[in-house]
Amino acid sequence: MTETPTDEYEHYEAVVVGAGPGGAAAAAALANHGVETLVLERGVDAGSKNVSGGLIYAEESAPYTIDDLFPDFREEATERPADEYYIHNVAGRNVKTFDLNDIHHHDTEWCDSVLRRKMDSWLAEQVHGMTRETGGGLLTNVRVNGLLREGGEIVGVTCDELDPITADVIVAADGVNSELARDAGLMDWEEPEEWFQGVKAVVDMDPDAINERFGIDDDEGVAHLFAGDLFDGVRGGGLLYTNEDSLSIGTVFHLDSIAEEKAEPHELLDSLLTHPLLDQWLQGEYEEREYAAKLVPDSKKAAHPSPHRGRLLLVGDAAGQMQAQGPIIKGMNHAVTAGGLAAEAYQEAKARGNPTNAGDLYEQKLETEGVMKKLRPARYRYSRPVSESGLVTGLTNGLLNSPVGTAGLKLFGGLVERAFNSPFMLGMIPDTRFSYVTMPTRIGEVLGTPVTAENDIEPPELDERIGDLTYDVDDPHIEVLDNSFEASGTAVTACPVSAKDFGGGCYREETVQTNGGEQKVVSLDTQPCVECGTCAVVADTHWEHPPGGKGVEYKQG
């Protein structure tokens, strides 16, 4: 790079990278404090890169909720409220349904389903208006590709589309696989244990059909979760949320489990879609609007205890602030809270005449406002070493399968349901097969009743799913560094748009002749890539996001 003195660069008081809920909240709060704020988003439109299952929470205990910052949010940007909340414990055709309303409504002011393209683009419009008044504004189609440093200090950002920009504070709200967090050395993408992989289908459905099949009114909605033996032993679960005129049906699994089991994510989603239990809602009709996937950090392991460096503050998924509270996924709300706190921290630090202190203040606020306690519960740290040991799991498994265990379950079915509704217990749940598979399956077996309906819908094949997505392809943004099967082979199955023996995806398995004989290697074609981040973790790659406006474009999200 040519050496340009930094005083010749464009300067904004604050630069916010990413216009998801975290970036939107940070920018709105900064603008409220009168800080000149520039927001840079790589998508053609905010939300065009984003996926969530779709329930955004406003927690009573949170210092910032999305409607604090954007009062019209629920009216303009959400789908339906999630009034009811159930988990279905599945064992074959046997299903036992627990009502999880208590835990769902615990500390919940409100909770709505959302589709990210609509939500984020609406937020971006508000944010642009608010930040423009401060002399900044929001730009789409701009990818930040790194941090600008001067004498080793972070002073700004560099972009694919713009000349470098300096700032007094940089908020990295660039989501999971944050290139800025990586550049700053705060996050790495090494351990599959630290991540979930989420896959989702948005399914077209007439509002009247939704109302009738779910027994709700126009302004009501439902959430259903699924666990048990329908996912081939892969640790995780399924979800189904009602939108205005569609359903969000998805799966979220521990990435290490997907990798170990050599599971095909799209097939796991299909297992859910085609389960007889879903017939009551799908009734033989299935029109998929969009297939999407993304990594989700597990805050219990990934939330950075000190998510800042110099002028750089990490917010939301970029900092690993994504809480899986048992089956409840809370990422968007924490991103909003963190964004608000980051802005507040900068404002206070500035008022005290020491803006460089913003990071420390931010870290303090995450603690004192109780955010860190939710993200990395101490209970979990205590329970993990014991409960994740194979011996203990084996023991509990044995117990549960013994006659005593079965009888106990029968006797205490109600108690189990109550236990599920305890935030204390959920914070402690170990990430073992026991919690995700064995226990729900046993509950389904012992307490459940069989579903008699047949579900004969046919989800699209992978090539159709890829074909239905919109892409503006650019040069490859991922490079395989080690193409041996040992190093990168997992991506063939774990990539949500690749599959073993499928030629139209990103990763393919190939056999090449070498002097010594044959060698199994992988090849990569990034054209159908949905930028989910999976291969950044499970394969040996050099992984970047495509330039602004390029790559996949989600219309639903």
Binding site: L40, R132, G137
Partner: protein, 305 residues
Amino acid sequence: MRSVVLTKGVPDFREGQVSFDEDGHLERGKTPTVMNPNDKHALRAALQTKVRHGGTVSLMSMGPPGYAEILHEGMEDVYADDLYLLSDREMGAADTWATAMTVATGIEHLDETPDLIFAGFKTADGETGHTGPQTEWCLNINDALPDYPLITHVVAMDIDEDEGVVRTKRLVEGDISEIETVEADLPAFVVADPEFEATYRKADHRLRHKDFRAQTRDRAAEFAEYLADDTDTDPTDFADFHMWNHEDLNLDPDFIGLDGSPTIVAGVDPIPKAPSEREATMIEPDDEEGMEEVFEQLQPYAAGD
């Protein structure tokens, strides 16, 4: 910077819009008229100038009153601060020469002498590529206006305000593989190539661009209300739209329109006949021989409105 962009209406050649008679001749009456697509590149070049250096962008056309729609299109799809339509029955059936004469006079009548005049490369119907250069020539023989050096096939540009020059990248002989850098003193006349690309490497510029796009869309929406069929208002009631006839321009009817046109259309080849090569030649403003050659070339096939 004060910029003026010249445009004209052309039949909408997009699939399903265009209609031909049995002989393959274009049925103008049945084919909607749109802004010449290439002129949008010129408008984008003018917008880039405004974003980077401030000033105003005026969009000007000559044609029937219905061409207000074309000006509206440019305002909505790209940008315009104000619109000028030179419209008069006397101006009808003008060839490119008479058009150039009229437009040059229109430019002369602006309250401020433009620093930059932009035109698109070739219209989608007449395909002569001459109106721009001819207008420029008419400007240069017009004593009331300064000389405008002409730069064609421009694919990128920037202005050095201190030096008072425009620096451009242009395609040599219209060839995409060969690009040269050309500098000219302001004021200047720029013909934007279809390959023209506006570049904005500063956040501030992109934000201003976004502001201007929002403003021009609002302005166009307001103008659309004056253009609507069911309204009592006249388009000229809209403050940013000006319609000038030959009297406003103080033009002798003998020199404009059909009477002022040295070319006659001998015949029009039926479609499909793919206009292939880009056929514009660089003519220096003071090169009278060159201009004469232009007229000669024009003679056989120039299509006036």
